[in-house]
Amino acid sequence: MGCWISEEPLDLNRLLQETEDPASGALVIFSGTVRNENEGQPVRAITYEAHVPLAENVLRALEEEVLSRFSVRRCRVQHRIGTLPVGEPSAIIVVRAAHRAEAFQAAQYAMDELKQRAPIWKEEHYETGESRFLEGTSLTLKVSGRPKP
């Protein structure tokens, strides 16, 4: 467990301190939170599971990629694991840049890519007592950040 995957509640204020930067005039934060409904089914909680060492690799590489691909000065990405009730933040992206257009673009990119690349799985727990694992995008070799020799 480290800087990117957390069993503890995500701490936005700490990420804001960590990314403070006098040359940035724009701060964009995205946070995913557990929603009380999905596809018409009342949801009471979501369990997030990660392949922790790979996920840490992927999110660290994603931060680096965002910093090199966009004119932004800070980028942090964190994802929570464990069983989270409705309203609880599951993921946070923090981006700081000189100007806001780039900050918005970079934050959106980071979240889109997190959903495609991070080895994280969601099990939705419904009000009915049932639960379901959600499946989205197949991973590819590329997500590791550095290619396997």
Binding site: H51, P53, A118, E123, T140, L141, K148
Partner: protein, 82 residues
């Protein structure tokens, strides 16, 4: 050859276990051969494994990756974080 296979996401419900220690008679075992062996043991995985990738340690490995005795291989179905 002993391999510890760890099932992520819905796979652990399909198989009924988070991890399994499996024994293979092969002299060499690739990830692709491991997947075939898993389908033989767990037919429920047959329709799923084409969209599953495998990781050893903190990296994803391809089908021709050679598994070593004692390796832990993670089976990663399509992801749904965020």
């Amino acid at each position: 050859m002993r391999v510890k296979v760890v099932f992520y996401g819905g796979l652990k419900r399909d198989v009924g276990a988070k991890a399994q220690e499996l024994q293979f008679d092969n002299q060499t075992l690739t990830v692709a051969q491991l997947k075939d062996g898993l389908i033989a043991r767990y037919p429920v995985l047959r329709p799923k494994l084409s969209s599953v990738v495998c990781a050893v340690g903190d990296e994803i490995v391809s089908g021709d990756y050679l598994i070593r005795d004692g390796d832990e291989v993670a089976l990663l179905p399509p992801v749904s974080g965020g």
